[in-house]
Amino acid sequence: MKNILFIFTTGASLVLATLLLSAAGVENFVLATGKGSFGTLQVPAQASMERGKQVYLQVCLACHQVDAGGVQGMTPTLVKTTYVLGPKTPLIKIVLNGMTGAVTVNGDDFHNVMAPHSDLTDQQIADVLTYVRNSFGNKASAVTVTQVKAARAANKPAGK
């Protein structure tokens, strides 16, 4: 009986610690173990997903739309594309720098300008990319604040 109580209590303490760490804004704390970007049981922290959703609603939705499916000829979809599910640094740089010029996604061209969003904090960028990579049918590893910080530091957009 005491064994069970001890295990249960330790587990509850671990969860509490997780919540405290998330609330403090430290890196998205992944509850399951495992490394690598794909194929492991990684679940982004709920708080991060909620924050990321707010950023998406306020900053991204107007162009990428409610279902992240984009707009024909103008704004590319964010659903299951290599841009979104692939390497994190180029994706972070798109959020920081925006995009100009036509981009081809899944065989279609898109022409509208994407404004830079370097005014978002590292946490906001980590959260919204984690949210997009794990919503709308997407499934991919979370983007961390550390990764955003590193990408921002190495980011040298042309003409700025």
């Binding site: 064994n3 209590t9 509850a12 509490l16 709920q46 959703k53 707009v71 704004t75 994407m114």
Partner: protein
């Protein structure tokens, strides 16, 4: 398993139970507080709070059937062709041959000539040619005119309106700017040997940094000298390009639907109004206001016309030209005293891609000289529901509206949910009138071409 920690007295277990209780309480509190982050309220539709005569009427969802247009009594539609791809603008020859321009090559071709030889409403002969994509399509004086995003070409037609030399068009206009945004070069012609070309502004509102919050508008807007207006050329002179005597009208953000009105002998255009009032200036416009504003405006142009873009937009609730926020506007300040007022103003972001003044005798008399407008459908109303994806009719006489506009052909989207989400089955684009007085509508989503006729 054995306890590996030192087992204290009974009071330490009470501490553990207390910690457990606190954890569970914390879990429950976070779960409740996290909740639904959706901050947009769930009310309503596109209906405006002010002057509702300009707001969209709710659609009649009871009769919406997928793949079937909803038309007024006495009208019926057939599909001349289906799944031709990105069919944009359309022209119909006096013998009924239909030409459509594609913005994406279909089987390697950018123009299709379609013919219904047995009168069953469906094309049974088709001929594809042209290796460039684009939007513009028009027929005048024995020639087919077509545009890419930088040039206008023409093809001689024989007496049966077959293209004489499809692989060697004559280049009439060259060197037009195409800088990402608003690239399609819609065209139309008058009856005096002139060709009109839209050159859309490669910008939303001529900010220094396009679509970027906090970036100021540029005054003077440097785009206007070579885009953001209508250029006029001779219909029969090769290799024309920019030049002072070709600049016909300015201050127009992007025109896709336009038509020569034969009653007034003047050019009428439909402007795609600017986007993102709320995204860029959330302190002035909320999401609902931004979904309706600014109006999509119809203008009547003459040489030298200035419609005020980017410095003003038309607010159809205040009935005024409002100073654009990028230039110091606050939603109330007016400006553009020397810019034109619109002939008609429609709800925001509907994307007017086709305009046709009806001159036929097949439809009932009230339609004669009136305007059909194809609304491609919105994207910039999000997070509010999207709107459009229909053809409207407005009665006109001598270039002046004589009544309110009404939805004429509906259900291109396939239903209310498809309209609201913007994920429409079909998106109306081009309009043309046939020799028998039927009208044709293209869809640039899947490439359906409808022929709409009136049966007595």
């Amino acid at each position: 398993m054995q306890h590996s920690i030192h087992q204290p007295k009974r009071t330490s277990w009470k501490l553990f139970y207390l910690l457990m209780g606190l954890s569970l309480t914390g879990l429950i509190a976070c779960g409740a507080g996290g909740g639904n982050g959706n901050k947009t309220d769930s009310a309503s539709t596109a209906a405006a709070t002010a002057d509702t005569s300009w707001a969209l009427k709710p659609t009649d969802s009871a009769t919406m059937i997928s793949d079937s247009l909803k038309l007024p009594a006495g009208f019926a539609a057939t599909t001349l062709v289906e799944n031709l791809g990105r069919t944009r603008h359309i022209a119909v020859a006096p013998n009924g041959a239909v030409f459509v321009k594609l913005s994406k090559l279909q089987d390697g071709k950018g123009i299709y000539r379609l013919m219904d030889t047995n009168g069953d409403g469906k094309a049974d002969k088709s001929f594809g040619f042209c290796n460039y994509t684009g939007t513009g399509m028009a027929i005048r004086d024995g020639y087919l005119y077509a545009s890419s995003d930088t040039c206008v070409y023409r093809y001689k037609l024989d007496k049966d309106f077959n293209v004489v030399d499809p692989n060697h068009p004559e280049k009439i206009v060259t060197g037009l700017l195409a800088r990402g945004e608003h690239e399609p070069k819609a065209i139309t012609l008058d009856y005096s040997g002139n060709l009109y070309v839209n050159i859309g502004a490669y910008s939303n509102s001529c900010q220094l940094q396009d679509r970027t919050k906090g970036s100021p508008g540029q005054r003077p807007c440097p785009i206007l000298d070579s885009a953001g207006g209508i250029w006029q050329f001779k219909a029969d002179v090769p290799n024309q390009t920019y030049g002072d005597d070709h600049h016909y009208a300015t201050g127009l953000r992007n025109v896709v639907g336009f038509d020569w009105n034969q009653q007034t002998n003047s050019l009428f255009v439909m402007q795609h109004g600017r986007d993102q009032l709320h995204d860029l200036f959330p302190d002035i416009w909320d999401t609902k206001q931004s979904a309706e504003l600014p109006a999509e405006c119809m203008y009547e142009l003459h040489k030298g016309s200035d419609c005020g873009y980017p410095y003003i937009f038309y607010d159809q609730f205040q009935h005024k030209k409002i100073l654009a926020p990028e230039y110091g506007g606050d939603g109330k300040k007016t400006a553009g005293d020397s810019a034109q007022d619109p002939v008609m103003a429609f709800p925001g972001h509907l994307a007017p891609d086709g305009l046709l003044f009806y001159t036929g005798n097949q439809f009932p008399g009230r339609y004669k000289n009136g305007a059909f407008i194809a609304f491609h459908g919105s994207w910039n109303r999000a997070p509010e529901p999207q709107e459009g994806f229909f053809v409207v009719f407005a009665p006109f006489e001598n270039g002046k509206p004589t009544g309110k506009w009404e939805i004429f052909a509906n259900n291109f989207s396939g239903g209310d949910a498809q309209t609201a989400s913007g994920r429409a089955d079909h998106r109306p684009c081009g309009l043309a009138q046939g020799p028998d007085g039927s009208i044709y509508v293209t869809d640039d989503s899947k490439g359906f071409v409808w022929k709409i006729s009136y049966k007595q």
